[in-house]
Amino acid sequence: MAAQTNTLVTAPRIPLMKRRDLFPYMLALPIIIYEGIFVLIPILQQISSSFTSDIFGVTTVKFVGLANYNRMLGDKNFWNSMHVTLVFMIATLTIAVGAGLVAALILNQRFRGRSLARAVMTLPWALPDLPAAIIFYWILNPNFGIINVLAHLLLPWIQQNPKWLVDFNLAMPLVVAISSWKAFPFYSLVILSVMQGIPHELYEAAKVDGANSRQSFRHITLPEIIPTLLLMGVLACIFAFKQFVLIYMETGGGPGRVTETLVIAVYKAAFDSFDFSYGATIGVAGFVMVFVITLLFVYLQRRQAAEAAV
């Protein structure tokens, strides 16, 4: 026992900072602290708030258990928002990532002015959301918007200007189009960078074997970019879910509730009605939705990695 104690006492002490196994953790510490304070605590606070009743200046904060969740599940406006969010998400994902892929395929070709074309393509993405929203709001004004001139040129049989953003049938497609226009350059640039990493020899070999451009795309390009497309898909879902400025500025969730996504519903509950608890409850539902999408992505990525290993 004495010998053991001696051994312990005489064991050389390694300074904390010199222990190599701690070094990575020390590096990660600032971001962990940041995320803890500004992300984790608010999430926990939001979850705890969803179990209370808290309407500012009307009720005092009190614990209500699952009452807000019961209300949410029976609230047809919540289900409408879920539906709208999914439609917006899928439509934006399809159009933005699809357009991004097409743009990347075009910009991957050699042609004169390619660099300029790439720079011009990034403009929508570089433009901040707010000015973009204001520009489209003016373009789409049913009375004075420039789009009315185009509409009458392209569709000479229409008698009256379409109502655009206040039309129940047009509002969602327009919001999707604007969001996709704003987002597609990002997806395009990422996909393009992956395409440029594909060895050119593969295409040359395929050409020698008699493959046409469609076959080259199907058997060389696509397998190489699929992991990136998957990632872009998840990002597109998350970006679409989070989209607030463009939707709120263009339609405010209307007309009626046809563009009222979950984020807009959270905002309306919390900051129009000052019902913070119910806003938090809808927020938790949205959090779960994004979490499930992320898990799905992780699953798909692992499955793909496993298939590649085989």
């Binding site: 200046g57 009307v58 109502k163 206040v166 405010g252 129009d272 009605s273 000052f274």
Partner: protein, 441 residues
């Protein structure tokens, strides 16, 4: 080894290390900075001015902001103990921000202004205090309308601007079309039809887009009042009542003569450039068309129609100024001193004239000579006031939630997807569910 150590010590004594240099530098800087502080200490000890933050949206409102700055300068010139600082946001952000700040426990104002419904929330949350001593010090008699600001009989806010809905019209456009002031709702509808020449001129406007939720609901409330209706009585929503249905049907008819899909800010610009003939607006809005217009004759051409609708009523909104009881006592006292000065008859009269307001909050607050200059105010004056709590019943605490029930259904009507009756029947069910939820908890 010992020698080496000694030599190092000796060396260190002669050569200042980088660390010591920094220490000495810091000490010297501290001494240098301390010197003027000590020298100026008597100046600061003489500084007894109390700084008061006045939190309001007025600063950004055309005309009203300049009026308030003039009055505050006059107050500053009249004494040297209190200094009023500007604090606040533009109107649309302000109403949300003040409630969010209050929710977080502290607002940016030692005194602040509120809407009638916002006042009720702030009062319930403990952000108002008695201002009876201010009224006493000012030596004025406040209007009966201010009773809605009383808590246990004591005024907790002082009306600083009362606004009332009315039908404002552009007399030049009316004259050009050979029309005269409407005497009935049917006549108004017919005139709007005549005055609409799309896309250059529109008969009327009322906010209706979803990204303008506050203004849309705020104005829509008046359309039911046009038929002597209210939206709720106590805890009972009245969305299917005859006056509400008639009011919304009138709106739907008038929608054909509006710049559809246009937000209120754009419509205000259209009105400023003589492109909208009539506008159901609050009296305080007139101020903007005196300064923010391309037509220098516009202000002189504005008139308000004498009420031609059943009941002659118009929603009248009292906007109080309150003193924040959660700030320092010295600041509260300073804020009250300022308000007592402002509420003195001659100062109040000057404020109301600079703001181009028309409804006084105190007896004798409006000089007849000034009133005679307001060619646009006759209609507003002839209306009978109805308050926001009278219009919304107990839903006044849930006004925005009720608006979120009504407005989306009404947009269905505007789009032609539903009749007013069907849309309001659906809205009534939702409003009843809202009442069951909020009034039983």
């Amino acid at each position: 080894m010992a020698e080496q150590d000694n030599s190092n010590s000796a060396k260190n004594k002669n050569n200042v290390s980088r660390r010591d240099f920094l220490k000495m530098g810091a000490a010297a800087t501290a001494v240098a900075m301390g010197a003027p502080v000590r020298a100026s200490a008597p100046f600061f000890s003489r500084q007894t001015k109390t700084e008061v933050n006045f939190f309001t949206w007025f600063w950004t409102e055309p005309g009203r902001g300049a009026a308030w700055r003039t009055m505050i300068k006059k107050f500053h010139d009249s004494q040297s103990d209190i200094h009023i600082n500007e604090s606040g946001y533009g109107e649309n952000d302000y109403f949300k921000t003040i409630l969010l700040q209050a929710k977080s426990g502290k607002i940016d104002g030692d005194m602040y202004t509120e809407t009638p419904d916002g006042f009720l929330r702030m009062q319930k949350a403990g952000f108002t205090s008695s201002l009876e001593d201010v009224v006493k010090a000012a030596g004025v008699t406040v209007s009966k309308a201010q009773d809605m600001l009383r808590v246990k009989g004591e005024l907790n806010g002082l009306d600083i601007v009362t606004v009332r809905f009315g039908l404002l019209y552009n007399k030049a456009l009316y004259d050009k079309a050979g029309l005269s002031e409407p005497k009935s709702i049917d006549e108004w509808v017919a005139q709007c039809k005549t005055l609409t020449v799309k896309p250059n001129q529109y008969g009327t406007f009322s906010p209706h887009v979803a990204n303008d939720p506050f203004t849309t609901w705020f104005t829509l409330q008046q359309w039911a009042v046009l038929y002597d209706g209210v939206w709720a009585k106590g805890q009972t929503p009245l969305l299917t009542s005859d006056p509400v249905i008639k009011g919304l049907k009138l709106f739907k008819t008038m929608y054909d003569y509006m710049p559809q899909g246009t937000d209120a800010a754009t419509a205000n610009k259209l009105f400023a450039s003589d492109q909208i003939a009539t506008d159901m607006v609050v009296s305080a809005a007139v101020n903007q068309w005196k300064v923010n217009t391309d037509d220098p004759n516009l202000y002189g051409n504005l008139r308000s129609a004498k009420p031609f609708w059943p009941g002659n009523k118009a929603i009248t909104r009292i906007h109080p100024v309150c003193v924040n009881p959660q700030t320092d006592k010295a600041k509260q006292d300073a804020a009250k001193t300022f308000l007592a000065w402002l509420y003195k008859k001659e100062n109040y009269q000057q404020l109301i004239e600079l703001c181009l307001d028309v409804i006084p909050a105190i007896d004798g607050g409006l000089r007849p000579e000034y009133r005679a200059t307001l060619t646009w105010a006759d209609g507003f004056d002839a209306e009978t006031a109805i308050t926001v709590p009278d219009t919304l019943g107990d839903f006044v605490y849930y006004g925005d939630e009720l608006g979120q029930v009504v407005v989306p259904h009404f947009q269905d009507v505007l789009a032609g997807n539903a009749s007013v009756e069907d849309a309001m029947a659906a809205a009534q069910k939702e409003a009843e569910a809202l009442a069951a939820r909020v009034f039983t908890t």
